[in-house]
Symmetry: C2
């Protein structure tokens, strides 16, 4: 019925990776295109939709094939379908996104055609992928303010200083430590583990974890979005 | 490239319409299918994507053709792509949604094959359209609590009682009038017009309007989602 429309799937992955001088940088992995259109340009990992696979499964498979990354879940971001977004015919792209921890990001393949970029220093990407990343950044920043997703960047336990740092990097502004502590503690989504950071410090910081009853991805009645 | 996948566009429209005993009922318009698959079943208005039109424009056109409705904006809800959602081959559906005022809803065509249904009393619909409506309801209820979209159901001016009634119908619970008033007034998205309801009442209720600086649909960097 929809003759002449190709369906593609792409993924925006965010991680906090060490940059210059050890500062953490909000980063995304990109793949260099090896054929037209946009041969040589960097682009989001992805490819053609598969007739027998769910969209999320295709997104996960393409991501693993190109970057080696395997996030525990992907959330659908948006479906991009402007008629002029590809010069070689109509392509509608369903875009997924995920956050990965720094140690997961370390496992990603890097090479001539796969590289991490700072999210706010991207080159001119293929198709409308700059717009897609801008939208993903906006969603990340909007969502971070009301949902407990910052910990997706961290391990199972973390200090409040680490959690605050995640918020500061993503929101691109300094946060008052005392206010941040009050806000997090009143949200009740973060609970003390009762343990402290190990190592010979005089007053080692307390370790916290997210309350397991808080869902990372809340899709309401949609329960079938898991990629595996 | 994505051989064997058809792309469709559908729309969920919500309106508050008078039901039995004058009570307002959260309602959606459905279209009866006149061919297989699911011939005779009710379904969301929609149809095949068009190779030259934006997805939102196709959604708006199909909606106008079948129901006569023309919402001022459509927001993308989700892209549904489970491999088994259509018995006649793979169909991926990009779903839009909108809220319309009661007077707009009155203009909708109704007939043998187009009818309004109470959102919580739907028959078994074609495809996965019951799941789609459940998800749209969940999004509406979630969003109503943090965004100022209730007034999309109302005209340009309204009383606080009318606004509270919209919230009560959608959230399916009674709200305390005094608490509701405080919450709305502190949100600063609703401002008094300085006028009152006309008619010979001793203490006519004040009229309010939404602050024009509050966007109905906030899509961040996506500015191209308007349907016309």
């Amino acid at each position: 019925m929809s003759t002449g429309i190709d369906l593609a799937v792409s993924t925006v992955i965010f991680a906090l990776r060490p940059g210059d001088a050890g500062r953490l940088v909000l980063s995304i992995p990109l793949v260099r295109r090896t054929r037209d259109p946009f041969e040589g340009r960097w682009s989001l990992p992805g490819g053609a939709a598969d007739a027998t696979e769910s969209l999320a499964a295709t997104a996960a498979r393409k991501l693993a094939e190109t970057t080696g990354l395997a996030p525990a879940y992907l959330e659908q971001l948006y479906c991009f379908g402007a008629p002029d977004r590809s010069p070689s015919g109509r392509v509608v792209s369903v875009v997924y996104w995920a956050l990965v921890r720094a140690d997961e990001a370390e496992l990603a393949a890097e090479g001539e055609n796969v590289r991490w970029f700072a999210a706010d220093e991207l080159p001119q990407l293929a198709f409308d992928h700059n717009l897609i990343v801008d939208y993903a950044l906006w969603r990340l920043r909007t969502k971070l303010e009301y949902a407990a997703i910052a910990h997706a960047f961290l391990g199972p336990t973390f200090t409040l200083a680490e959690l605050r740092q995640v918020h500061e990097i993503v929101l691109q502004r300094a946060l008052d430590p005392a206010n941040f502590r009050r806000q997090i503690e009143s949200s009740r989504s973060v609970v003390p583990t009762g343990e402290h950071v190990t190592g010979g410090r005089h007053r080692p910081p307390r370790l916290y974890r997210y309350d397991g009853s808080v869902q990372l991805v809340d899709n309401g009645p949609l329960t079938s979005v898991a990629v595996r």
